[in-house]
C-alpha cells in the first residue's frame, strides 16, 4: 500500500510554509499550526456519566460556561455549544486521545469525531492582531469583552471561524475549514499588511494559555 501524505490546506501558500522576510516594524505575527488533532466531542453536560468519563480522560472538566475553554495536560477543551466541544491536541497523540475518549465513552450517549483533516489553525499575535480581526468580523474581541479564556464560533471575512483568545487582546487562534483556509490566509495577509506582518514558518505545536482548568474565566455575557 502506498503511503498517504498529509498536506496542510495552506501548502500552496509559500509564505505560510516557509515564513516571510519580516518588515522593519512588526504589528502582527502570523503562523499556521497544521496537523493538530482536532476532535469534536458531543454529549450532555447534565449527564454525569458523560462528564465524569470526559474528565477522566481529559484531566479536567469540560467547560460548561458558554464561550470559554479549559486546558488540561497537553489538551485544550473549548465550548462550542451546550452539547458540543472542540478538543485540540498535538497531532501525533491524536489516535491515542481518540481511542481513550471512545473507550471511556463507549457506554455513554456521546459522540467523538476526528475532524483534524478538515480544518487548520492559524495564530495571530501582536499589538495589531485585534485590529486585523476587527476588519473582518463584527465580533468584539477587546479584552474587556473577550478575556484570556474566551472562545467562540463566528464569522471572519465571510468565512466561518472558531476563535480562541490565548492572551487577551494580543494572541488569537483561528480554526478554519480546510476549503476556506487558503482564502482566509490570503485575506489575513492582505488585512495585516498595513500593520507590518511577519509570517513565521508553519509549526505543528499546540499552544496553551496556562489557564487553570478548574476556574474558567467569566465572560462579559455570563453563563
Amino acid at each position: 500500500m502506498s503511503e498517504i501524505k498529509i498536506e496542510s490546506p495552506l501548502v500552496d501558500q509559500v509564505e505560510a510554509v516557509r515564513g516571510n522576510s519580516a518588515p522593519a516594524k512588526v504589528g502582527v505575527r502570523m503562523t499556521e499550526h497544521p496537523f493538530l488533532g482536532q476532535i469534536v466531542l458531543r454529549g450532555k453536560s447534565s449527564d454525569t456519566a458523560f462528564t465524569a468519563a470526559c474528565a477522566g480522560v481529559l484531566g479536567c472538566e469540560v467547560p460548561t460556561t458558554p464561550n470559554t475553554y479549559a486546558e488540561g495536560q497537553g489538551v485544550v477543551i473549548a465550548w462550542m455549544g451546550p452539547t458540543e466541544w472542540l478538543v485540540l491536541v498535538d497531532g501525533e497523540s491524536t489516535p491515542a486521545w481518540l481511542s481513550a475518549l471512545r473507550g471511556a465513552l463507549a457506554d455513554v450517549h456521546a459522540g467523538v469525531l476526528d475532524t483534524s483533516g478538515g480544518q487548520t489553525l492559524i495564530s495571530l499575535e501582536g499589538p495589531a492582531a485585534l485590529d486585523v480581526l476587527a476588519k473582518g468580523s463584527t465580533l468584539d474581541l477587546h479584552p474587556r469583552v473577550a478575556p484570556t479564556g474566551f472562545c467562540t464560533r463566528s464569522l471572519l471575512a465571510k468565512s466561518a471561524m472558531f476563535v480562541r483568545v490565548v492572551e487577551a487582546g494580543q494572541r488569537f487562534e483561528i480554526v478554519v475549514r480546510r476549503s476556506f483556509a487558503d482564502y482566509l490566509w490570503q485575506w489575513l495577509v492582505d488585512a495585516g499588511g498595513e500593520y507590518g506582518l511577519a509570517i513565521q514558518p508553519a509549526e505543528s505545536t499546540l499552544v496553551l494559555a496556562g489557564l487553570q482548568a478548574s476556574a474558567p474565566p467569566k465572560t462579559a455575557t455570563g453563563a
Partner: protein, 93 residues
C-alpha cells in the same frame, strides 16, 4: 442590521443568525382525524403580523442552537429572547 441576544452567547450581530420560521407551532395531537384543510393549515399557514411576532432563530455561526424571539416586524425592536418552548403570544402564561 440588528443584534440578537443569544440565550447562550450574548449579543451578536444578526449575520451570525438564521431565521427559522414562526415559533410555537403546535403539531396537532391526532393528525389522522384532521381534514385536509386543517392539516394544510398546520403545515403551511403562518401568521404575518404587522407588529409583535413570535419567531425562531438559530445561532448558526455560533453555538448552533435554536431559540425563540419576540420581535416587532415594523420597528425590528426585539422584545424578548428565550430558550425554545415558550407559550405562543396571546396564550395565557
Amino acid at each position: 442590521m440588528f443584534q440578537i441576544d443569544c440565550p447562550w452567547c450574548g449579543p451578536r450581530d444578526q449575520q451570525e443568525f438564521a431565521y427559522a420560521g414562526e415559533a410555537a407551532i403546535k403539531r396537532p395531537e391526532n393528525p389522522a382525524s384532521l381534514s385536509d384543510a386543517e392539516w394544510a393549515d398546520y403545515l403551511f399557514m403562518r401568521t404575518n403580523p404587522r407588529g409583535r411576532h413570535h419567531e425562531q432563530w438559530r445561532h448558526v455561526h455560533g453555538c448552533g442552537q435554536f431559540f425563540d424571539v419576540v420581535r416587532d416586524t415594523v420597528t425590528y425592536r426585539i422584545e424578548s429572547v428565550d430558550v425554545p418552548g415558550r407559550p405562543a403570544l396571546g396564550d395565557a402564561s
